[in-house]
């Protein structure tokens, strides 16, 4: 048995000329929540599909729960639960039937399943919706049902592909809370997201992906300290180019995004002094977050 829940070594995948995953390596320890953070098109979903053995890498090695993938992916999947990016619940069925049918795909008997389905529905806060058709459920309920479905085989590892994309804040917080409970129960989670807050709240460690490459890896705090390490001042309402040349000597790094200036300022007071005379400017001083790291690494400007 490998000491890692998941291990990728030099994994490559391309479609035609387009390199989607480019020599990616990382490991996930048992019980850890590991995040794959990247913009759309960074290769996150491709990685998730490779980990499940649904597609084969062109090069490199993947091990999931001690099983080589894709050759023994089926055995790995017996102990893996999946929440996909797009809901693929069975709309013809009720919530309970969805769990029953899915459990049978794992070779479980109706009796075994009837014993666990109530507690899974309770976990997903869907007790009252057991006999409601999926089509009648809200977006957040569907996601929770998908999460319950992913738990039907009592997996050791959960693969979550953008689990809260498209949900309102309430629904999202409820999912996050459920995921923390699962982590406390010792499940290993691998999570893809482009949602910085999600990664910061949930992940023990994460890697930042760009064009299928691992461009930074570590705990959220370590990454913030390493790549930013000081306060951030956001300035809006003036001419960013002019302001930028004015305050550049007083900050560690400065970036422009649309009409906003992001200043990484070890000494924020100095920046404030420089801007004191200017009316109509709005300044927001805040501690650095993962979004700053992400944008610092991948570039603030969208067109690149």
């Amino acid at each position: 048995m490998s000491k890692f829940a998941m291990e990728l070594t030099g994994v490559k995948k391309s479609y035609g000329d387009k390199i989607v995953v480019d020599g990616l390596s990382f490991t996930v320890a048992p019980g850890e929540c590991f995040g794959l953070l990247g913009p759309n098109g960074a290769g996150k979903s491709t990685i998730a599909r490779m980990v499940l053995g649904m597609i084969s890498p062109d090069a490199g090695k993947i091990t999931v729960l001690g099983e080589p993938v894709p050759s023994r992916a089926r055995w790995a999947r017996m102990r893996v639960g999946v929440v996909p990016q797009f809901d693929n619940l069975d709309l013809e069925f009720t919530a309970r039937e969805n769990l029953l049918v899915f459990g049978r795909y794992f070779g479980k008997s109706a009796r075994e399943l009837e014993a666990v389905i109530p507690s899974l529905l309770e976990f997903a806060r869907l007790e009252s919706k057991a006999n409601a058709r999926v089509a009648e459920l809200s977006g957040g309920m569907k996601r929770r049902l998908t999460l319950a479905r992913a738990l039907i085989n009592d997996p050791q590892l959960l693969v979550l592909d953008e689990p809260t994309t498209g949900l309102d804040p309430h629904a999202r917080h409820l999912i996050w809370e459920r995921l923390r409970i699962l982590l406390a129960r010792g499940k290993t989670i691998i999570l893809t997201t482009h949602f910085m807050e999600e990664a910061e709240r949930l992940c023990d460690r994460l890697c930042v992906l760009e064009h299928g490459r691992n461009i930074a890896e570590g705990s959220p705090h370590a990454l913030i300290d390493k790549h930013i390490g000081c306060h951030v001042i956001e300035i809006f309402g003036g001419n960013p180019r002019e302001l930028s040349s004015l305050i550049r000597p007083y900050v560690q790094h400065i970036e422009m995004s649309g009409e906003t200036l992001y200043c990484y300022a070890p000494d924020p007071e100095q920046v404030r002094v420089q801007l004191r005379e200017r009316a109509g400017l709005r300044l927001l001083q805040r501690p650095p977050n993962l979004e700053d790291v992400f944008l610092r690494l991948t570039g603030r400007e969208m067109e690149k």
């Binding site: 649904m54 894709p70 089926r74 899915f102 479905r149 992913a150």
Partner: protein
């Protein structure tokens, strides 16, 4: 590559049953409408052609036209039931409704899914074909007990046409393409296979083509059973249906693997 192909084959002899049961559970909710739908079309042909043409045609191959037509309608209903289940319903489960995708997260392989879908389509065909057989029997067009031999043939016919339709499902970019399969393959097959009129009425060249049509083999098995006559070349007919089913199964598996697992 070889290693990857394992994912497109059934993992074991029973995994497909979970997929079959999923489809059965969904079907149970709409069973009545579904059976009625499956019955309506062949029954309209049966009574329409049988009573209408039957008066003009008189006797065919030594029996009444309706008795002749019954076997054709049984085979045709099995063919269309499993074809439509596979090109429309299974295609929807594969593409639009992402049901196959969800199944692939479990320990099932793509091959298990394909086999489950084929078995399900064959079941639908069996139900449709058997219903027509029962009605034909009630009208006095079935010889007892040889009519019982039609039942396994109906199931095999369903499986063969499901397998063939799975190749079309694997290749079709959208629903629009299925109409080509229907109008260029399925409908001509109905007329070239001796379902509606005897094959020897066809021009010589067409009679040669007929030997390769799976529906013709199915009818050659069902008609004698319905009329209580001896069947000739049982092995050839069953063998032909099996070859179509098996070859199309592997072909569709390879095509679906290319489509879905990359």
């Amino acid at each position: 590559m070889d290693e990857g192909f394992a994912a497109a084959l059934p993992a074991n002899a029973w995994n497909w049953l979970a997929v079959w049961r999923r489809n059965y559970l969904a079907w149970k909710k709409v069973a009545f409408a579904s059976i009625l739908g499956n019955l309506a079309d062949p029954m309209i042909y049966f009574f329409g052609l049988g009573s209408g043409l039957g008066i003009m045609v008189g006797r065919v191959e030594g029996t009444s036209y309706s008795a002749f037509l019954a076997a054709g309608m049984i085979a045709a209903s099995a063919m269309t039931a499993s074809t439509f289940e596979t090109i429309y319903a299974a295609f929807a489960r594969m593409r639009d409704r992402r049901i196959w995708e969800a199944i692939l997260y479990t320990q099932l392989t793509l091959g298990d899914i394909i086999l489950g879908e084929l078995a399900w389509a064959a079941t639908r065909a069996f139900l449709a074909g058997t219903a027509i057989t029962i009605i034909a029997a009630m009208l006095g067009y079935a010889a007892w007990p040889s009519v019982l031999y039609t039942l396994p043939v109906i199931a095999l016919t369903g499986l063969t046409f499901a397998s063939l339709a799975m190749v079309v499902t694997a290749l079709a970019p959208s629903y629009d393409y299925f109409v080509f399969y229907q109008t260029l393959v399925i409908t001509p097959m109905l007329f070239l296979s001796g379902a509606v009129f005897p094959i020897n009425q066809l021009p010589g060249a067409f009679q040669q083509v007929t030997r390769f049509l799976p529906l013709a083999h199915s009818i050659d098995l069902i008609r004698p059973a319905m009329l209580g006559r001896p069947v000739v070349d049982v092995g050839v007919h069953i063998g032909a249906l099996c070859i179509y089913a098996v070859v199309a199964f592997f072909l569709s598996s390879a095509l679906l693997r290319r489509r879905l697992l990359r």
